[in-house]
């Protein structure tokens, strides 16, 4: 009798709670799936990756707007707080640049004054003026024709200490280029040792009407031989040319070739096109 009651009660309970039971099963299945999604990397990646990618692209696109002010503030604070350190690092470089600039400008000014004084008061100038007045020829043209135009004769790119020649260009037949590179390196070394000046380098060697301009870089230096009367303007042009050549050619070709004198062809191509 009691058993019958229990059975009836159980049936009644099943009938009454059938919907809750179904809901419970469904909920349990959903929780299980969510658990799987969260704890299985591959499944989580499928869900999360598109969102992360979107966020990354958004950050990439809007990085300057979002982080720019904060970075600028941080850099500004860093600079303010490390002024001494920065001055120590920049002082020798800036000082050298300013010194070089002043020297160049003073030389140019002095040269200009000398030229003007010489031209204005020299006896030769009066003779030329008279001759020009008599013949009717332009005085300017005559002076330019008589002046000895400066011209690049040779260019060498030489490794700093080993004196190994990385490339050379020459308008004429000269003695062994390796020997010239070696001797030039020795002269630079000698000047440095003899006068023991830190951060200073031999910049010019003069030989009668020839001048050799030396321009130092980190691992190599460039020597340019010039014939004729060279003024500051011409020197500046050569400086610009050398810097441009190093920037465009040396820095781009060094890593791609194994040949030792790999700069000879580029040097020839570059400098034969210039009208200096």
């Amino acid at each position: 009798m009691v058993e019958q009651k229990d059975e009836l009660f159980q049936r009644l309970r099943d009938i009454l709670l059938e919907k809750e039971h179904r809901d419970h099963q469904q909920l349990s299945q959903t929780v299980n799936e969510l658990h799987q999604d969260i704890n299985t990397r591959q499944r989580l990646e499928v869900k999360v990756d598109p969102i992360v990618d979107d966020k990354i692209s958004y950050l990439k696109k809007n990085f300057p707007e979002i982080f720019g002010p904060a970075i600028a503030r941080a850099v500004s604070v860093q600079i303010r707080e490390s002024q001494d350190m920065m001055i120590d690092a920049l002082y020798p470089i800036i000082g050298k640049l300013i010194k070089k600039y002043i020297v160049v400008e003073l030389s140019a000014l002095s040269e200009k004054i000398d030229q003007q004084l010489e031209q204005a008061f020299s006896w030769e100038m009066w003779v030329r003026r008279l001759k020009s007045w008599v013949t009717g020829q332009s005085l300017g043209k005559e002076i330019v024709a008589q002046a000895m135009e400066p011209m690049i004769q040779e260019v060498f790119v030489i490794k700093q200490h080993s004196s190994v020649l990385l490339g050379s260009y020459s308008r004429q037949n000269i003695m062994d280029r390796d020997m010239i590179a070696g001797m030039m390196t020795a002269i630079r070394g000698f000047a440095k040792e003899a006068f023991a000046k830190e951060h200073q380098d031999l910049q010019t060697i003069e030989y009668e009407t020839y001048k050799i301009l030396l321009k130092k870089f980190q691992t190599f230096y460039v020597a340019v031989t010039v014939s004729g009367a060279m003024n500051e303007a011409f020197k500046q042009k050569i400086d610009d040319l050398v810097l441009d050549f190093v920037h465009k050619v040396v820095n781009t070709t060094s890593a791609t070739t194994s040949a030792e004198d790999y700069l000879s062809d580029p040097l020839r191509q570059y400098f034969s096109q210039t009208n200096l």
């Binding site: 080993s162 390796d178 590179a181 020795a186 030792e260």
Partner: protein, 161 residues
């Protein structure tokens, strides 16, 4: 393919650095002694089985210690020939210290120690002198007769490749 290499010759004055260079480059020898001022630079191409080595030889003025030689002359050297005079013990008495210091300033650079002027001794005398040297020389040479000169430079060329 030709590879350029900087070779420096070091040692006391009068040991025969310039004579060895002259013998190697020009196959010549002179009994007259001309002191080198600063540095003299010569070049010779040595053909090896795999490549050619263009040796840029820095014949540096003799000093009692290599530390008196300007640093810039030594920097960037790919090979060193240290020459001692077999007739003058003071040119090799501190040989071991000299080479040790050189190896510190030029690590991984091949160095050959050469005992020059071997033509002035008999075989027995030479053996006795070599025993006195603080380091065993790579070779004994004679710039006068040319003995071993080419072999020394060629060996250095091989070691620099």
């Amino acid at each position: 393919m030709t590879i350029s290499k900087k070779v420096i010759l070091l040692g006391h004055y009068g040991v025969g650095k310039s004579s060895l260079t002259r013998r190697f480059v020009y196959q010549k020898f002179s009994n007259q002694y001309n002191t080198t001022i600063g540095v003299n630079i010569e070049k010779k191409v040595v053909a090896l089985p795999t490549c050619e080595i263009s040796m840029i030889i820095w014949d540096i003025a003799g000093e009692t210690s290599h530390q008196k030689v300007p640093q810039s002359y030594k920097l960037g050297a790919h090979g060193v020939i240290y020459v001692v005079d077999l007739t003058r013990p003071n040119t090799y008495q501190k040989l071991d210290t000299e080479i040790l210091n050189l190896q510190k300033s030029l690590p991984d650079v091949p160095m050959l120690v050469i005992g020059n002027k071997k033509d002035l001794f008999t075989e027995k005398e030479r053996t006795d002198i070599v025993k006195q040297l603080p380091l065993e020389p790579f070779a004994l040479s004679s710039a006068k007769t040319g003995e071993n000169v080419d072999a020394i430079f060629t060996e250095l060329a091989k070691r620099m490749v």
